[in-house]
């Protein structure tokens, strides 16, 4: 229902209070050796206290036998469906209560700062519902194809599993991801600014097989997927996209879809805004024109500064964010060698390159892409460097295989104003302070 168009008023600050020298990325070989020696000499900053620990005192965690070294743990049946360690309680989805009117039509956010690699664990994939989570017994679920087809059909989940299926990794990003940041820095943490994205391996049936089974008539140009939840979610999708790479997925990361992700089946629309990936998919209609449903008129249209609004803005543009360090994941180890890490993705295809700046966009260095590089999947990047302990303004800038460059916030605002809500793919800045803490800021 409610979307993110009522963001609170930003308060402008005058800027110069934190104007300090930016550090240089290059650290001399000599100072690198020195800092290495310092560590070996036994000093390190304890994160919680900020005190210097003395490694000349033997560590009791090493010299004494601990409970878990001595006593037996749980047996195999204690955790029939394994959950994360009790020490990972912070790695959870979180919501921003003031954003929406009711939890049943709301959103929560993936804890990007707690994750590594490119795959989002199923329990941490952000949620966006418009009528709560439909709990559907798969034997009670039906998928209908109707409209401009030769034979309107009904499939069960068992029918679906008899079609040829594929495994593909795709990101899903809500069009409103980073939507709160149009008017300025608002939320402290990449979970909240960028956490409406997840990246999952789907097992599913190419939609083109289902359409062929029903036989699309030549007049058919548009497809309307519909959900079986209490919002009966609908979107108009051009037929070409459906014949290209859309899937009807039954599994995510190897297991059945989670209820909050559309169990028993959802639509996968690679590279396009998450709202179109209809969950609890129960019907696919073929027509000759778009339907102009609520979610493609009242919502998910991008209001520009001149009062015109773009519609059918489907593709999620090239984007990246530094996940560590970030406001929820400060640097706790003091100066010295560190690893900056982040995610990049593009709805157009593969990410070709990610550049990182530590001085607020003055100078850029290519980051190291690591892990698989799949089209319309999240890419992991790293930037390894020595931090000299002075403040930094961290930014990342992704470039995709077609040369699309992630824009600055100012560039995007110059084109669109600040009331678009959706499709904010601009460059994010984290201010790293001399104590290692981080804040969401904008720089000039």
């Amino acid at each position: 229902m409610t979307d993110f168009d009522n963001d609170p008023k930003p308060i402008k600050t005058t800027a110069n209070e934190l104007n300090k020298d930016v550090i240089k990325n290059t650290v001399s070989r000599r100072s690198a050796i020195k800092s290495g020696l310092a560590l070996m000499g036994g000093t390190a900053i304890a994160a919680s206290t900020g005190k210097i620990a003395n490694a000349n005192t033997p560590d009791p965690l090493i010299t004494e036998v601990q409970d878990w070294n001595r006593y037996l743990g749980d047996g195999v049946d204690a955790r029939p469906y394994g959950m994360p360690s009790q020490f990972e309680k912070d790695a959870v989805r979180r919501d921003v209560a003031w954003l929406t009117a009711d939890a049943k039509s709301s959103v929560n956010f993936t804890p990007l700062h707690k994750l590594e690699g490119v795959i989002t664990p199923n329990g941490l994939c952000f949620e966006r519902h418009h009528g709560g989570i439909a709990e559907i017994n798969p034997t009670d679920h039906r998928l209908m194809i109707n409209g401009l087809v030769d034979t309107p059909l009904v499939f069960t989940l068992e029918d679906l599993k008899r079609f040829p299926r594929e495994n593909k990794v795709y990101f899903l990003e809500c069009a409103a991801n980073s939507g709160m940041e149009w008017r300025g820095a608002q939320l402290n943490g990449c979970q909240f600014t960028h956490g409406m994205v997840h990246n999952v391996m789907y097992t599913g049936v190419p939609l083109k097989y289902l359409l062929a089974e029903a036989g699309v008539k030549t007049a058919g140009k548009w497809v309307l997927p519909e959900g079986g939840d209490a919002s009966h979610m609908t979107r108009s999708i051009p037929l070409e996209k459906c014949l290209d790479d859309c899937l009807v997925a039954t599994h995510m990361n190897g297991e059945a879809l989670r209820p909050e992700q559309g169990y028993p089946m959802r639509l996968v629309v690679p590279g396009w805004e998450g709202n179109m990936w209809v969950k609890w998919l129960r019907r696919i209609e073929i027509g000759d024109k778009p339907w102009h449903q609520r979610e493609e008129t009242s919502k998910y249209t991008d209001l520009l500064e001149d009062g015109l609004a773009r519609r059918f803005t489907w593709v999620m543009d090239v984007k990246s964010v530094i996940t560590n360090p970030s406001p929820q994941a400060p640097i706790n180890h003091g100066k010295g060698h560190t690893v900056l890490s982040g995610l990049a993705w593009s709805g157009h295809g593969k990410v070709k390159r990610v550049d990182v700046s530590i001085d607020g966009g003055r100078n850029w260095k290519p980051a190291r892409l690591d892990g698989p590089s799949w089209s319309r999947s999240v890419h992991r990047f790293y930037y390894d460097f020595n931090w000299d302990g002075s403040e930094m303004f961290l930014q990342s800038r992704a470039v995709d295989e077609f040369g699309h460059v992630q824009p600055t916030k100012d560039a995007l605002r110059a084109e669109r104003g600040v009331n678009s809500i959706y499709h904010n793919n601009s460059i994010q800045t984290w201010h790293i302070k001399p104590d290692g803490s981080a804040e969401n800021v904008e720089v000039s």
Partner: protein, 359 residues
């Protein structure tokens, strides 16, 4: 909204062992509790239930059948409600059922701006569910056990021989079955701007106003102005270039068909598909009236529907993001000395401090 002057008199019963009184068998009881839990979701937006439930717009209802109705710690009832209830009276099945049929007519002035549950069976199910929730928000164990027993009671089917299965003739893989016309009709409810999909029927703004007041106004406001963060439906004309645009049906939405389609498929929130096609015509007509598009006596029909245009239709354009300069891909991004001077902070998240507490 019609208002009855008649005061709402409750008979004072002792809240006896309700569960046993009302329900003969465990299975019947479980069905009612389970159904009641589903029906209750339309109430849950205002009334929390379950472990840790707290007061929201309405009081939390853990163990509601066991407590004094108009005196709940930490909740400020309307004076209308406290006046209507005897000081020590507790709810019982019949008094609660009578109240829930139409809260606003039974106790004019109650905060409970809810149209009521018209079906007596549905009310009984909701009350069975509430009666099964104890003061700690736990569902009574007998109820849980009965529900699970009910669920496990599935029949075992003999397996069919593979060779006996008939393969359909349609399609490529011959999978699925042909959808029946009645099935397509039941689900194919979408309506397009050109009127395709509109059901035959009609409704006027006056009738729509009555439905709206009872079923929509609690969230969307008496005049479509929206309560809390629920969507604003009316007004906002000419604000799209303002600093704070108000995007309503009248000011923003391009097509009237979207109103009909969406109300029919998703509203009222928590009770979707409960309005008749004519009701939806009425509500759509009333929303047109709230947006000053028609007069109060206006009737919207399947015949005149496509004549109406919303004011903002012409201001929607197709996606032209690719024309924005940084999309060209022609220029390699700058790598060194891209901006003169050192970076200075121009905006800080901490100033606003709207980040949720994470502890």
């Amino acid at each position: 909204m019609s208002k009855l002057k008649q005061p709402f008199g409750f008979a004072i019963f002792k809240a006896a062992p309700l569960l046993l009184l009302i329900f003969g068998s465990n299975a019947l009881f479980a069905n009612d509790v389970e159904k009641g839990e589903k029906l209750y979701r339309q109430c849950a937006g205002c009334h929390q239930v379950g472990p840790g439930a707290s007061h929201a717009f309405g009081p939390q209802l853990n163990g509601v059948m066991e407590r004094v109705a108009a005196k709940v710690e930490g909740y400020d009832f309307s004076s209308a409600f406290t006046d209507a209830m005897a000081p020590d009276v507790k709810w019982n099945a019949s008094s609660l059922s009578a109240f829930l049929e139409s809260p606003m007519t039974n106790i004019p002035g109650t905060k409970m701006a809810f149209p009521g549950v018209k079906s007596e069976d549905d009310r009984a199910s909701i009350i069975a569910y509430l009666a099964a929730v104890d003061v700690d928000g736990k569902l009574a164990t007998t109820a849980e056990a009965a529900i699970s027993a009910d669920e496990s009671n599935t029949e075992k089917q003999p397996r069919v021989l593979a060779a006996d299965v008939e393969i359909p003739t349609h399609g490529v893989f011959h999978l699925g079955r042909v959808a029946l016309a009645e099935e397509v009709a039941a689900w194919d409810i979408d309506v397009r701007p050109d009127g395709e999909g509109l059901p035959k029927g009609s409704g006027d703004a006056v009738a729509g106003g009555i439905i709206y007041d009872a079923q929509c106004a609690a969230c969307h406001g008496d005049f479509g102005e929206g309560t809390g963060r629920w969507p604003v439906l009316a007004g906002g004309l000419g604000t799209l270039t303002d600093e704070r645009p108000e995007k309503t049906i009248g000011s923003y939405w391009p097509y009237l068909s979207t109103v009909y389609d969406y109300v029919r498929r998703a509203m009222p929130f928590g009770n979707a598909r409960s309005l008749s096609d004519d009701d939806v015509y009425s509500v759509t007509a009333y929303l047109m009236y709230l947006n000053d598009l028609v007069d109060e006596d206006f009737e919207l029909t399947s015949d005149n529907f496509v004549e109406f245009r919303l004011p903002n239709e012409e201001n929607f354009i197709t996606d032209n993001r690719s024309e924005e300069p940084y999309f060209s891909g022609a220029v390699e991004p700058c790598m060194t000395d891209c901006i003169p001077g050192v970076a200075t902070v121009s905006q800080r998240a901490r100033v606003l401090d709207v980040t949720p507490d994470q502890n």
